[in-house]
Protein backbone atom coordinates (compact mmCIF):
# COMPACT_ATOMS: atom_id res chain seq x y z
CA UNK A 1 0.00 0.00 0.00
CA UNK A 2 2.81 2.40 0.96
CA UNK A 3 4.41 1.67 -2.41
CA UNK A 4 1.21 2.62 -4.24
CA UNK A 5 0.84 5.84 -2.19
CA UNK A 6 4.49 6.68 -2.99
CA UNK A 7 3.86 6.19 -6.69
CA UNK A 8 0.79 8.46 -6.50
CA UNK A 9 2.96 11.11 -4.77
CA UNK A 10 5.60 10.83 -7.50
CA UNK A 11 2.92 11.10 -10.17
CA UNK A 12 1.59 14.33 -8.67
CA UNK A 13 5.11 15.63 -8.15
CA UNK A 14 5.88 15.09 -11.87
CA UNK A 15 2.77 17.07 -12.70
CA UNK A 16 3.99 19.84 -10.41
CA UNK A 17 7.37 19.96 -12.17
CA UNK A 18 5.71 20.30 -15.56
CA UNK A 19 3.68 23.19 -14.24
CA UNK A 20 6.81 24.92 -13.01
CA UNK A 21 8.09 25.21 -16.61
CA UNK A 22 5.02 27.28 -17.36
CA UNK A 23 5.95 29.85 -14.71
CA UNK A 24 6.82 33.38 -15.95
CA UNK A 25 10.39 33.89 -17.06
CA UNK A 26 12.55 34.73 -14.10
CA UNK A 27 15.13 37.48 -14.10
CA UNK A 28 18.12 35.21 -13.64
CA UNK A 29 17.28 33.05 -16.67
CA UNK A 30 16.70 36.11 -18.83
CA UNK A 31 20.03 37.62 -17.77
CA UNK A 32 21.85 34.34 -18.43
CA UNK A 33 20.44 34.07 -21.93
CA UNK A 34 21.15 37.69 -22.78
CA UNK A 35 24.72 37.29 -21.57
CA UNK A 36 25.16 34.18 -23.72
CA UNK A 37 23.76 35.96 -26.80
CA UNK A 38 26.01 38.98 -26.33
CA UNK A 39 29.09 36.83 -25.94
CA UNK A 40 28.21 34.64 -28.90
CA UNK A 41 27.52 37.67 -31.09
CA UNK A 42 30.84 39.16 -30.04
CA UNK A 43 32.62 35.97 -31.08
CA UNK A 44 30.63 35.88 -34.32
CA UNK A 45 31.63 39.46 -35.13
CA UNK A 46 35.29 38.50 -34.85
CA UNK A 47 35.01 35.86 -37.55
CA UNK A 48 37.14 36.60 -40.58
CA UNK A 49 35.24 37.06 -43.78
CA UNK A 50 37.51 36.08 -46.70
CA UNK A 51 36.06 38.70 -49.08
CA UNK A 52 36.54 41.51 -46.59
CA UNK A 53 40.03 40.30 -45.77
CA UNK A 54 41.04 40.38 -49.43
CA UNK A 55 39.60 43.87 -49.75
CA UNK A 56 41.59 44.99 -46.72
CA UNK A 57 44.76 43.36 -48.04
CA UNK A 58 44.44 45.24 -51.33
CA UNK A 59 44.25 48.53 -49.50
CA UNK A 60 46.54 47.82 -46.58
CA UNK A 61 48.58 44.64 -46.28
CA UNK A 62 49.63 45.35 -42.69
CA UNK A 63 46.04 45.77 -41.57
CA UNK A 64 45.08 42.46 -43.19
CA UNK A 65 47.94 40.74 -41.38
CA UNK A 66 46.89 42.42 -38.12
CA UNK A 67 43.39 40.99 -38.56
CA UNK A 68 44.76 37.52 -39.27
CA UNK A 69 47.10 37.65 -36.28
CA UNK A 70 44.35 38.80 -33.94
CA UNK A 71 41.91 36.16 -35.16
CA UNK A 72 44.37 33.31 -34.66
CA UNK A 73 45.72 34.81 -31.43
CA UNK A 74 49.35 34.88 -32.56
CA UNK A 75 51.89 36.91 -30.62
CA UNK A 76 53.47 38.04 -33.86
CA UNK A 77 53.46 37.05 -37.49
CA UNK A 78 55.95 37.71 -40.26
CA UNK A 79 55.50 36.98 -43.95
CA UNK A 80 58.48 36.72 -46.27
CA UNK A 81 58.68 36.10 -49.99
CA UNK A 82 60.69 33.41 -51.80
CA UNK A 83 63.87 35.49 -51.56
CA UNK A 84 63.38 36.00 -47.83
CA UNK A 85 62.36 39.63 -48.22
CA UNK A 86 59.62 40.84 -45.88
CA UNK A 87 56.11 41.12 -47.26
CA UNK A 88 54.65 42.22 -43.98
CA UNK A 89 54.74 41.91 -40.25
CA UNK A 90 52.25 42.15 -37.45
CA UNK A 91 52.46 42.13 -33.69
CA UNK A 92 55.07 42.98 -31.09
CA UNK A 93 58.70 42.17 -31.54
CA UNK A 94 60.99 42.31 -34.50
CA UNK A 95 61.79 39.71 -37.13
CA UNK A 96 63.69 36.88 -35.51
CA UNK A 97 66.17 36.30 -38.30
CA UNK A 98 67.77 33.27 -36.75
CA UNK A 99 64.37 31.59 -36.63
CA UNK A 100 63.41 32.76 -40.12
CA UNK A 101 66.67 31.47 -41.59
CA UNK A 102 66.28 28.14 -39.81
CA UNK A 103 62.73 27.76 -41.16
CA UNK A 104 63.85 28.70 -44.67
CA UNK A 105 66.54 26.02 -44.47
CA UNK A 106 64.05 23.36 -43.34
CA UNK A 107 61.69 24.21 -46.20
CA UNK A 108 64.58 24.13 -48.67
CA UNK A 109 65.73 20.75 -47.38
CA UNK A 110 62.36 19.09 -46.93
CA UNK A 111 60.86 20.29 -50.21
CA UNK A 112 57.53 18.47 -49.78
CA UNK A 113 56.91 19.99 -46.35
CA UNK A 114 54.52 22.90 -46.25
CA UNK A 115 54.00 23.27 -42.50
CA UNK A 116 56.41 23.36 -39.58
CA UNK A 117 55.24 23.39 -35.98
CA UNK A 118 57.85 23.87 -33.28
CA UNK A 119 56.82 23.53 -29.64
CA UNK A 120 58.83 24.66 -26.66
CA UNK A 121 58.68 23.73 -23.00
CA UNK A 122 58.23 27.41 -22.13
CA UNK A 123 54.85 27.34 -23.84
CA UNK A 124 55.75 29.31 -26.95
CA UNK A 125 55.04 27.53 -30.18
CA UNK A 126 56.12 28.50 -33.65
CA UNK A 127 54.12 27.80 -36.75
CA UNK A 128 55.47 28.25 -40.25
CA UNK A 129 53.39 27.67 -43.35
CA UNK A 130 54.44 27.83 -46.96
CA UNK A 131 51.80 29.49 -49.13
CA UNK A 132 52.24 30.20 -52.84
CA UNK A 133 56.01 30.46 -52.43
CA UNK A 134 55.73 32.84 -49.46
CA UNK A 135 56.32 31.75 -45.90
CA UNK A 136 54.42 32.93 -42.84
CA UNK A 137 56.05 32.48 -39.46
CA UNK A 138 54.01 32.96 -36.32
CA UNK A 139 54.56 32.72 -32.60
CA UNK A 140 51.66 31.42 -30.55
CA UNK A 141 51.01 30.41 -26.97
CA UNK A 142 48.52 27.72 -27.95
CA UNK A 143 49.16 24.63 -30.02
CA UNK A 144 47.76 25.26 -33.50
CA UNK A 145 45.10 22.75 -34.55
CA UNK A 146 44.77 21.23 -38.03
CA UNK A 147 41.89 23.63 -38.63
CA UNK A 148 43.98 26.63 -37.56
CA UNK A 149 46.70 25.63 -40.00
CA UNK A 150 44.18 25.00 -42.75
CA UNK A 151 42.39 28.30 -42.22
CA UNK A 152 45.60 30.28 -41.91
CA UNK A 153 46.87 28.76 -45.14
CA UNK A 154 43.59 29.49 -46.91
CA UNK A 155 43.33 33.10 -45.72
CA UNK A 156 47.00 33.86 -46.11
CA UNK A 157 46.97 32.57 -49.64
CA UNK A 158 44.22 35.08 -50.49
CA UNK A 159 46.04 37.90 -48.72
CA UNK A 160 49.37 37.18 -50.43
CA UNK A 161 47.71 36.78 -53.83
CA UNK A 162 45.73 39.99 -53.47
CA UNK A 163 48.94 41.81 -52.58
CA UNK A 164 50.40 40.63 -55.89
CA UNK A 165 47.59 42.32 -57.82
CA UNK A 166 48.76 45.79 -58.87
CA UNK A 167 46.95 48.25 -56.69
CA UNK A 168 47.28 51.90 -55.75
CA UNK A 169 48.88 50.80 -52.49
CA UNK A 170 51.65 48.98 -54.30
CA UNK A 171 52.38 52.09 -56.29
CA UNK A 172 52.45 54.04 -53.05
CA UNK A 173 55.14 51.78 -51.59
CA UNK A 174 57.34 52.81 -54.50
CA UNK A 175 57.41 56.42 -53.26
CA UNK A 176 60.80 58.09 -52.76
CA UNK A 177 61.83 57.92 -49.12
CA UNK A 178 64.69 58.30 -46.75
CA UNK A 179 64.99 56.85 -43.26
CA UNK A 180 67.54 58.68 -41.14
CA UNK A 181 68.66 58.56 -37.54
CA UNK A 182 68.23 61.61 -35.32
CA UNK A 183 71.76 62.75 -36.14
CA UNK A 184 70.93 62.83 -39.85
CA UNK A 185 72.72 59.64 -40.95
CA UNK A 186 70.96 57.58 -43.61
CA UNK A 187 69.59 54.18 -42.49
CA UNK A 188 67.83 53.40 -45.78
CA UNK A 189 66.62 55.27 -48.83
CA UNK A 190 64.91 54.83 -52.17
CA UNK A 191 64.51 57.18 -55.14
CA UNK A 192 66.13 60.18 -53.42
CA UNK A 193 68.84 61.92 -55.44
CA UNK A 194 71.02 63.04 -52.53
CA UNK A 195 69.88 60.96 -49.56
CA UNK A 196 72.71 62.08 -47.21
CA UNK A 197 71.88 65.73 -47.75
CA UNK A 198 68.13 65.09 -47.49
CA UNK A 199 68.64 63.13 -44.28
CA UNK A 200 70.74 65.90 -42.75
CA UNK A 201 68.22 68.60 -43.72
CA UNK A 202 65.28 66.61 -42.38
CA UNK A 203 67.09 65.94 -39.13
CA UNK A 204 67.85 69.65 -38.76
CA UNK A 205 64.24 70.57 -39.50
CA UNK A 206 62.92 68.19 -36.85
CA UNK A 207 65.48 69.44 -34.29
CA UNK A 208 64.32 72.95 -34.99
CA UNK A 209 60.66 72.10 -34.60
CA UNK A 210 61.36 70.07 -31.46
CA UNK A 211 63.17 73.01 -29.84
CA UNK A 212 60.62 75.53 -30.97
CA UNK A 213 57.41 73.66 -30.21
CA UNK A 214 58.52 71.56 -27.23
CA UNK A 215 55.88 68.91 -27.93
CA UNK A 216 56.03 65.34 -29.09
CA UNK A 217 55.92 65.51 -32.88
CA UNK A 218 53.80 62.87 -34.52
CA UNK A 219 53.83 64.07 -38.09
CA UNK A 220 55.34 66.93 -40.04
CA UNK A 221 53.78 67.46 -43.45
CA UNK A 222 54.96 70.12 -45.86
CA UNK A 223 52.60 70.71 -48.77
CA UNK A 224 53.46 72.42 -52.05
CA UNK A 225 51.39 74.08 -54.75
CA UNK A 226 52.35 71.30 -57.19
CA UNK A 227 50.39 68.82 -55.06
CA UNK A 228 53.48 67.10 -53.61
CA UNK A 229 53.77 66.61 -49.90
CA UNK A 230 56.93 65.92 -47.90
CA UNK A 231 55.88 63.89 -44.88
CA UNK A 232 58.17 63.18 -41.92
CA UNK A 233 57.28 60.70 -39.22
CA UNK A 234 59.48 60.42 -36.12
CA UNK A 235 59.48 56.72 -35.18
CA UNK A 236 61.54 55.25 -32.35
CA UNK A 237 65.08 56.60 -32.90
CA UNK A 238 64.66 57.43 -36.56
CA UNK A 239 62.88 59.79 -38.91
CA UNK A 240 60.91 58.40 -41.81
CA UNK A 241 60.54 60.92 -44.63
CA UNK A 242 58.86 60.46 -47.98
CA UNK A 243 57.25 62.40 -50.77
CA UNK A 244 53.70 61.74 -51.92
CA UNK A 245 51.63 63.16 -54.67
CA UNK A 246 48.17 63.25 -53.31
CA UNK A 247 44.82 64.86 -53.14
CA UNK A 248 44.71 66.92 -49.89
CA UNK A 249 41.66 64.92 -48.79
CA UNK A 250 43.50 61.61 -49.07
CA UNK A 251 46.95 62.65 -47.96
CA UNK A 252 46.62 61.76 -44.26
CA UNK A 253 45.34 58.27 -44.90
CA UNK A 254 47.95 57.71 -47.60
CA UNK A 255 50.77 58.90 -45.31
CA UNK A 256 49.64 56.52 -42.54
CA UNK A 257 49.69 53.57 -44.94
CA UNK A 258 53.12 54.39 -46.36
CA UNK A 259 54.59 55.02 -42.92
CA UNK A 260 53.28 51.69 -41.66
CA UNK A 261 54.80 49.88 -44.61
CA UNK A 262 58.17 51.63 -44.12
CA UNK A 263 58.07 50.86 -40.39
CA UNK A 264 57.75 47.13 -41.19
CA UNK A 265 60.66 47.44 -43.57
CA UNK A 266 62.67 49.25 -40.91
CA UNK A 267 61.89 46.59 -38.29
CA UNK A 268 63.21 44.01 -40.71
CA UNK A 269 66.39 46.01 -41.34
CA UNK A 270 66.99 46.57 -37.63
CA UNK A 271 66.40 42.90 -36.86
CA UNK A 272 68.68 41.83 -39.68
CA UNK A 273 71.51 44.10 -38.55
CA UNK A 274 71.16 43.00 -34.93
CA UNK A 275 71.16 39.33 -35.85
CA UNK A 276 74.14 39.69 -38.21
CA UNK A 277 76.27 41.47 -35.62
CA UNK A 278 75.14 39.01 -32.93
CA UNK A 279 76.07 35.97 -35.00
CA UNK A 280 79.42 37.55 -35.90
CA UNK A 281 80.13 38.27 -32.25
CA UNK A 282 79.15 34.74 -31.25
CA UNK A 283 81.26 33.07 -33.96
CA UNK A 284 84.76 34.55 -33.65
CA UNK A 285 86.25 31.69 -35.67
CA UNK A 286 84.27 32.62 -38.73
CA UNK A 287 85.82 34.94 -41.33
Amino acid sequence: MARIVGKFKRLFKRGGEEERVEEPEDEYAREAREEAIQRALQIASKQLEPEKLVETARKDMSKALDELREYFGFEWMAVIDEQGKPIGMSGDGSFDHELINAIKRVFETARDADTIIVSSEEGSNYLAVKVNGSVAICETKTTPSDADVFMLRSDLSMVVESAKVPSPVEEETEVPYVIADRQGLVVDSQGIREPDRAAAEISRLIDLLDDYMEVHLEWVKLGTKSGKTLAVKPYKDVLIAFVVESDPEEVDEKCERIAKSLMSKLEFLIGHTTESSKSKAESPNEG
Binding site: F8, L11, A36, A44, Q47, P50, S145, M151
Partner: protein, 267 residues
Protein backbone atom coordinates in the same frame (compact mmCIF):
# COMPACT_ATOMS: atom_id res chain seq x y z
CA UNK B 1 34.15 23.88 -54.54
CA UNK B 2 34.36 20.64 -52.62
CA UNK B 3 36.08 17.89 -54.50
CA UNK B 4 33.30 15.36 -54.72
CA UNK B 5 30.32 16.79 -56.52
CA UNK B 6 27.20 14.71 -56.49
CA UNK B 7 27.13 12.90 -59.83
CA UNK B 8 23.41 12.62 -60.62
CA UNK B 9 22.18 15.15 -58.12
CA UNK B 10 23.27 13.23 -55.03
CA UNK B 11 23.41 15.51 -52.03
CA UNK B 12 26.46 14.68 -49.94
CA UNK B 13 25.85 16.28 -46.55
CA UNK B 14 28.38 16.29 -43.75
CA UNK B 15 26.72 16.25 -40.34
CA UNK B 16 29.14 18.36 -38.33
CA UNK B 17 29.58 20.14 -35.04
CA UNK B 18 32.58 21.65 -33.32
CA UNK B 19 31.71 20.23 -29.94
CA UNK B 20 31.42 16.54 -29.10
CA UNK B 21 28.19 15.18 -27.63
CA UNK B 22 25.81 17.40 -29.61
CA UNK B 23 24.14 14.33 -31.12
CA UNK B 24 25.62 14.16 -34.62
CA UNK B 25 25.45 10.39 -34.79
CA UNK B 26 21.85 10.33 -33.56
CA UNK B 27 20.91 12.94 -36.13
CA UNK B 28 22.72 11.01 -38.89
CA UNK B 29 21.03 7.71 -38.07
CA UNK B 30 17.55 9.15 -37.67
CA UNK B 31 17.68 11.64 -40.52
CA UNK B 32 19.10 8.96 -42.82
CA UNK B 33 16.36 6.51 -41.88
CA UNK B 34 13.63 9.14 -42.26
CA UNK B 35 14.99 10.17 -45.66
CA UNK B 36 15.17 6.54 -46.80
CA UNK B 37 11.55 6.13 -45.76
CA UNK B 38 10.49 9.19 -47.79
CA UNK B 39 12.88 9.14 -50.70
CA UNK B 40 15.05 6.82 -52.80
CA UNK B 41 18.59 5.65 -52.19
CA UNK B 42 20.07 7.00 -48.97
CA UNK B 43 23.53 6.15 -47.60
CA UNK B 44 24.90 7.00 -44.19
CA UNK B 45 28.63 6.86 -43.62
CA UNK B 46 30.46 6.85 -40.30
CA UNK B 47 33.46 9.09 -40.95
CA UNK B 48 34.27 9.40 -37.26
CA UNK B 49 37.19 7.06 -37.76
CA UNK B 50 38.67 7.26 -34.28
CA UNK B 51 35.40 7.30 -32.26
CA UNK B 52 32.96 5.35 -34.38
CA UNK B 53 29.52 4.71 -32.93
CA UNK B 54 27.03 4.90 -35.78
CA UNK B 55 27.27 1.10 -35.98
CA UNK B 56 26.56 0.86 -32.26
CA UNK B 57 23.27 2.72 -32.39
CA UNK B 58 22.20 0.70 -35.44
CA UNK B 59 23.27 -2.65 -33.98
CA UNK B 60 26.07 -3.09 -36.51
CA UNK B 61 29.00 -3.19 -34.13
CA UNK B 62 29.86 -6.71 -35.27
CA UNK B 63 29.88 -5.87 -38.98
CA UNK B 64 32.60 -8.08 -40.50
CA UNK B 65 33.78 -5.48 -43.01
CA UNK B 66 33.81 -1.78 -42.11
CA UNK B 67 34.95 1.55 -43.48
CA UNK B 68 38.29 0.96 -41.76
CA UNK B 69 38.93 -2.05 -44.00
CA UNK B 70 38.06 0.04 -47.06
CA UNK B 71 40.31 2.91 -45.94
CA UNK B 72 43.08 0.40 -45.27
CA UNK B 73 42.75 -0.82 -48.86
CA UNK B 74 41.73 -4.30 -47.65
CA UNK B 75 38.12 -4.30 -48.93
CA UNK B 76 35.94 -2.72 -51.60
CA UNK B 77 33.31 -0.17 -50.61
CA UNK B 78 30.37 -2.43 -51.53
CA UNK B 79 31.60 -5.05 -49.04
CA UNK B 80 31.16 -2.53 -46.21
CA UNK B 81 27.58 -1.51 -47.14
CA UNK B 82 24.81 -2.91 -44.90
CA UNK B 83 21.08 -2.50 -45.15
CA UNK B 84 19.63 -0.64 -42.19
CA UNK B 85 16.06 0.19 -41.14
CA UNK B 86 13.69 1.45 -43.88
CA UNK B 87 16.28 0.43 -46.46
CA UNK B 88 18.91 3.00 -45.52
CA UNK B 89 22.40 1.88 -46.60
CA UNK B 90 24.90 2.04 -43.77
CA UNK B 91 28.69 2.07 -43.94
CA UNK B 92 29.81 1.66 -40.34
CA UNK B 93 33.35 2.26 -39.11
CA UNK B 94 35.14 -0.32 -37.02
CA UNK B 95 35.93 0.08 -33.37
CA UNK B 96 39.24 -1.78 -33.15
CA UNK B 97 42.41 0.20 -32.52
CA UNK B 98 44.21 -1.89 -35.12
CA UNK B 99 41.63 -0.79 -37.72
CA UNK B 100 42.08 2.86 -36.79
CA UNK B 101 45.83 2.52 -37.14
CA UNK B 102 45.62 0.99 -40.60
CA UNK B 103 42.94 3.33 -42.00
CA UNK B 104 44.06 6.06 -44.36
CA UNK B 105 41.54 8.95 -44.10
CA UNK B 106 42.70 10.32 -47.45
CA UNK B 107 40.84 7.44 -49.13
CA UNK B 108 37.55 8.82 -47.81
CA UNK B 109 37.09 10.91 -50.94
CA UNK B 110 37.16 7.78 -53.11
CA UNK B 111 34.51 6.19 -50.89
CA UNK B 112 32.34 9.32 -51.17
CA UNK B 113 32.77 9.36 -54.96
CA UNK B 114 31.66 5.72 -55.12
CA UNK B 115 28.53 6.51 -53.11
CA UNK B 116 27.50 9.70 -54.91
CA UNK B 117 27.44 7.77 -58.17
CA UNK B 118 24.59 5.61 -56.88
CA UNK B 119 22.77 7.56 -54.16
CA UNK B 120 20.22 10.34 -53.84
CA UNK B 121 21.45 11.31 -50.39
CA UNK B 122 24.68 10.68 -48.55
CA UNK B 123 24.96 11.68 -44.90
CA UNK B 124 28.49 11.74 -43.53
CA UNK B 125 28.74 11.49 -39.76
CA UNK B 126 31.83 13.61 -39.20
CA UNK B 127 34.07 13.54 -36.15
CA UNK B 128 33.73 16.23 -33.48
CA UNK B 129 36.27 19.02 -33.44
CA UNK B 130 38.37 20.25 -36.31
CA UNK B 131 41.14 17.74 -36.64
CA UNK B 132 42.41 16.31 -39.90
CA UNK B 133 39.65 13.68 -40.07
CA UNK B 134 36.97 16.34 -39.62
CA UNK B 135 38.52 18.48 -42.35
CA UNK B 136 38.60 15.47 -44.69
CA UNK B 137 34.92 14.70 -43.99
CA UNK B 138 33.91 18.33 -44.48
CA UNK B 139 35.78 18.72 -47.74
CA UNK B 140 34.45 15.41 -49.11
CA UNK B 141 30.87 16.69 -48.80
CA UNK B 142 29.09 19.30 -50.89
CA UNK B 143 26.87 20.49 -48.05
CA UNK B 144 27.15 20.75 -44.29
CA UNK B 145 24.41 20.49 -41.69
CA UNK B 146 25.52 21.97 -38.37
CA UNK B 147 24.27 20.09 -35.32
CA UNK B 148 24.20 22.32 -32.28
CA UNK B 149 22.80 22.34 -28.77
CA UNK B 150 21.04 25.52 -27.66
CA UNK B 151 23.93 26.78 -25.55
CA UNK B 152 26.81 29.18 -26.11
CA UNK B 153 29.75 26.73 -26.25
CA UNK B 154 28.09 24.60 -28.87
CA UNK B 155 27.07 27.60 -30.99
CA UNK B 156 30.49 29.26 -30.92
CA UNK B 157 32.17 25.97 -31.81
CA UNK B 158 29.77 25.66 -34.73
CA UNK B 159 30.91 29.09 -35.89
CA UNK B 160 34.41 27.67 -36.33
CA UNK B 161 33.09 24.68 -38.27
CA UNK B 162 31.11 27.05 -40.47
CA UNK B 163 34.21 29.14 -41.14
CA UNK B 164 36.20 26.05 -42.12
CA UNK B 165 33.36 24.66 -44.27
CA UNK B 166 33.16 27.93 -46.16
CA UNK B 167 36.88 27.77 -46.86
CA UNK B 168 36.75 24.23 -48.24
CA UNK B 169 33.82 25.27 -50.46
CA UNK B 170 31.17 23.22 -48.66
CA UNK B 171 27.82 24.99 -48.51
CA UNK B 172 26.11 25.39 -45.18
CA UNK B 173 22.65 23.88 -45.60
CA UNK B 174 21.50 25.05 -42.18
CA UNK B 175 21.53 24.01 -38.56
CA UNK B 176 19.68 21.41 -36.54
CA UNK B 177 19.28 22.33 -32.89
CA UNK B 178 19.36 19.12 -30.89
CA UNK B 179 18.42 18.38 -27.29
CA UNK B 180 16.07 21.32 -26.91
CA UNK B 181 14.47 21.41 -23.47
CA UNK B 182 12.84 24.86 -23.75
CA UNK B 183 14.61 25.85 -20.56
CA UNK B 184 14.49 29.61 -20.15
CA UNK B 185 18.27 29.95 -20.37
CA UNK B 186 18.50 28.17 -23.71
CA UNK B 187 19.19 30.14 -26.85
CA UNK B 188 16.13 30.36 -29.05
CA UNK B 189 15.86 29.45 -32.74
CA UNK B 190 15.90 33.13 -33.79
CA UNK B 191 18.93 33.86 -31.65
CA UNK B 192 20.83 30.89 -33.04
CA UNK B 193 19.97 31.92 -36.59
CA UNK B 194 21.23 35.42 -35.87
CA UNK B 195 24.53 34.20 -34.43
CA UNK B 196 25.24 31.49 -37.00
CA UNK B 197 23.80 33.48 -39.91
CA UNK B 198 22.13 30.36 -41.23
CA UNK B 199 18.65 28.86 -41.07
CA UNK B 200 17.66 26.55 -38.26
CA UNK B 201 16.00 23.68 -40.12
CA UNK B 202 14.90 21.71 -37.09
CA UNK B 203 14.55 21.87 -33.33
CA UNK B 204 14.84 18.37 -31.95
CA UNK B 205 13.56 18.10 -28.39
CA UNK B 206 15.39 16.31 -25.60
CA UNK B 207 13.41 13.09 -25.56
CA UNK B 208 14.07 10.00 -23.43
CA UNK B 209 12.74 7.93 -26.32
CA UNK B 210 15.98 8.69 -28.24
CA UNK B 211 18.14 7.06 -25.55
CA UNK B 212 15.76 4.13 -25.19
CA UNK B 213 15.74 3.50 -28.93
CA UNK B 214 19.54 3.70 -29.07
CA UNK B 215 19.76 1.15 -26.26
CA UNK B 216 17.79 -1.24 -28.47
CA UNK B 217 20.01 -0.44 -31.44
CA UNK B 218 17.24 1.25 -33.39
CA UNK B 219 16.66 4.82 -34.58
CA UNK B 220 13.87 6.56 -32.68
CA UNK B 221 12.06 7.22 -35.98
CA UNK B 222 11.56 3.46 -36.19
CA UNK B 223 11.10 2.47 -32.55
CA UNK B 224 8.90 5.38 -31.44
CA UNK B 225 7.79 7.02 -34.68
CA UNK B 226 5.23 9.25 -32.99
CA UNK B 227 7.55 10.55 -30.28
CA UNK B 228 8.41 14.25 -30.28
CA UNK B 229 12.02 13.63 -31.36
CA UNK B 230 11.02 11.25 -34.16
CA UNK B 231 8.57 13.84 -35.49
CA UNK B 232 11.31 16.47 -35.50
CA UNK B 233 13.68 14.16 -37.42
CA UNK B 234 11.00 13.41 -39.99
CA UNK B 235 10.21 17.11 -40.32
CA UNK B 236 13.90 17.77 -40.94
CA UNK B 237 13.98 15.07 -43.62
CA UNK B 238 10.94 16.63 -45.30
CA UNK B 239 12.60 20.03 -45.12
CA UNK B 240 15.68 18.67 -46.93
CA UNK B 241 13.46 17.10 -49.57
CA UNK B 242 11.45 20.28 -49.90
CA UNK B 243 8.15 18.56 -49.12
CA UNK B 244 5.40 19.20 -46.62
CA UNK B 245 5.37 17.08 -43.48
CA UNK B 246 2.18 16.33 -41.65
CA UNK B 247 2.71 15.89 -37.95
CA UNK B 248 1.54 12.50 -36.70
CA UNK B 249 -0.66 12.90 -33.65
CA UNK B 250 0.56 10.66 -30.79
CA UNK B 251 -1.97 8.14 -29.49
CA UNK B 252 -3.82 9.77 -26.62
CA UNK B 253 -3.63 7.91 -23.37
CA UNK B 254 -6.65 7.86 -21.17
CA UNK B 255 -6.46 8.97 -17.53
CA UNK B 256 -6.87 5.38 -16.40
CA UNK B 257 -4.08 4.04 -18.56
CA UNK B 258 -1.79 6.83 -17.30
CA UNK B 259 -2.54 5.85 -13.71
CA UNK B 260 -1.95 2.18 -14.45
CA UNK B 261 1.30 3.07 -16.18
CA UNK B 262 2.40 5.15 -13.23
CA UNK B 263 1.44 2.56 -10.66
CA UNK B 264 2.75 -0.54 -12.30
CA UNK B 265 5.65 0.93 -14.24
CA UNK B 266 4.55 -0.17 -17.71
CA UNK B 267 6.25 1.76 -20.41
Amino acid sequence: MAESEGGDGCRAICIASGKGGTGKTTVTANLGTALADMNGEVYILDADIAMANLGLILQMEDAPVTLHDVLAGEADVEEAVYEGPKGVKVIPAGISLEGIRKANPERLREVVEWIVDRADFLLIDGPAGLGRDALTALSAATECLLVVNPEIASITDALKVKAVAERVGTNITGAAVNRVTKDKTELTKDEIEKILETRVLAEIPEDPEVRRAAAFGEPVVVRSPKSAAAQAFKKLAAELLGIEYEVEVPDKEGVLSKIIKGLFGKR
